[in-house]
């Protein structure tokens, strides 16, 4: 087997395992977060983003991160409208594209049904994409600024050599919010 296939198996399995262990494969935990009644998962996600940002940009400062792996997605109206549709679907189903697969692995039938729905969703999107590209949905926003902090392949708000420190501070802010967030808001 090729090396990248072995890496994919190890990393994909670890990712699914981690999502299960934090409760993200459980629609009740996801819905508890959205309904603001059980914010355990929200604390974990905020903390996860915090740790990931801190480790990643510390690695950048130390020259340990392959900079060409940075991959910044564009900003266009479709991000906002897509997020609205995504949010509606999340509130209805209690799954995400990744956590649904964790649910499938754990033996949930509703996760399989969600997955089939997802396949229909991407099918519909692939059919209408050609017509959407000429609409305002693909108009770029924020004059192409892709990131807050300088990375490899996108325009950044802060581009000085010390800018990775800003990312690390942002990471600590996420950790702090995760720490301060109560377990219940309702």
């Amino acid at each position: 087997m090729e090396l990248d296939i072995i890496e994919a198996i190890v990393l994909g399995t670890l990712f699914g395992f981690a999502l299960y262990k934090i409760g993200a494969g459980d629609p009740d935990k996801l819905m508890g977060m959205l309904k603001l009644q059980d914010l355990h998962l929200a604390k974990t996600i905020l903390g996860g983003i915090g740790f990931a940002t801190i480790i990643l940009f510390t690695g950048v400062l130390l020259g340990l991160v392959p900079m060409e792996h940075f991959s910044i997605k564009g900003i266009y109206w479709g991000v906002i409208f897509g997020a609205i549709i995504f949010g509606l679907g999340w509130a209805i189903s209690g799954f995400c594209p990744g956590t649904g697969m964790v649910g499938m692995g754990a033996g949930r039938i509703d996760a399989y049904v969600y997955f089939i729905g997802g396949l229909l969703g991407t099918y519909i999107f692939a059919m209408i994409y050609g017509d959407l590209t000429s609409t305002f949905l693909y108009t770029e926003l924020f004059e192409g600024v892709g990131t807050l902090v300088q990375t490899e392949n996108a325009e950044a708000l802060f581009s000085a050599t010390w800018s990775p420190f800003i990312a690390i501070i942002i990471g600590f802010c996420f950790l702090f919010i995760g720490y301060k967030l109560p377990y219940k808001l309702r």
């Binding site: 670890l14 189903s93 649904g100 697969m101 509703d110 994409y129």
Partner: protein, 187 residues
């Protein structure tokens, strides 16, 4: 029981950084399109063509599969690539998670509590809602260019502005909608 938030955060953050350094930022929703393509290709193989003028060697009559030099078309023809193997392996991770948890009943309880609290134990309604949610979420994810993994986690950890915007809008919509739909019936 699930991990406490500090341990869970460390594990989640570690996995996202590890995948980033080894290969690339984690994302999931792209592979749904490729799976569609693989199924479709078995029925009507004529929407993908070999084309030496494209960098991947493939083109498609479908505009979405054709973008980025026919990258998705190539994946459909050669589905054993990093992203697809990664996504399929998530199922294995979910299974391992379940097998190593004492209280496995929680994530595998077939009707979620929030559903039965509102609608009772209506299994078919749960499936219908899961299905509709799946349709909407994958349309939304493809329009936005990513999902919870690609935009929210991988995007924000790179300080990507699109990740922050995606996350804010998703929660601004999903929080009130879920509270509205899954009102607990009082009786």
């Amino acid at each position: 029981m699930y991990l406490n938030w500090v341990k869970g955060s460390l594990l989640l953050g570690f996995v996202f950084v590890l995948a980033f350094i080894v290969m690339k930022p984690i994302g999931v929703s792209t592979e749904y399109v490729v799976i569609d393509g693989i199924v479709e290709y078995k029925k009507h193989p004529d929407f993908i063509n070999k084309d030496a003028s494209s960098a991947t060697g493939y083109r498609s009559s479908n505009a979405y599969l054709d973008k980025s030099e026919g990258k998705l078309a190539e994946h459909i023809i050669h589905p054993k690539y990093y992203g697809m193997v990664f996504v399929v392996s998530i199922l294995l991770g979910g299974l391992l998670g379940r097998l190593t948890s004492k209280e496995a009943s929680k994530a595998t309880k077939q009707i979620p509590q929030f559903h039965s609290n509102t609608f009772g134990n209506k299994m078919l309604l749960r499936y219908a809602l899961a299905f509709v949610g799946g349709v909407l979420m994958l349309i939304g994810a493809r329009l936005a260019g990513g999902c919870t993994s690609g935009h929210m986690m991988s995007g924000i950890m790179q300080t990507s502005v699109s990740g922050y915007i995606f996350a804010l809008v998703v929660f601004a919509v999903a929080v009130p909608t879920s509270i509205l739909i899954y009102k607990v019936k009082e009786n």
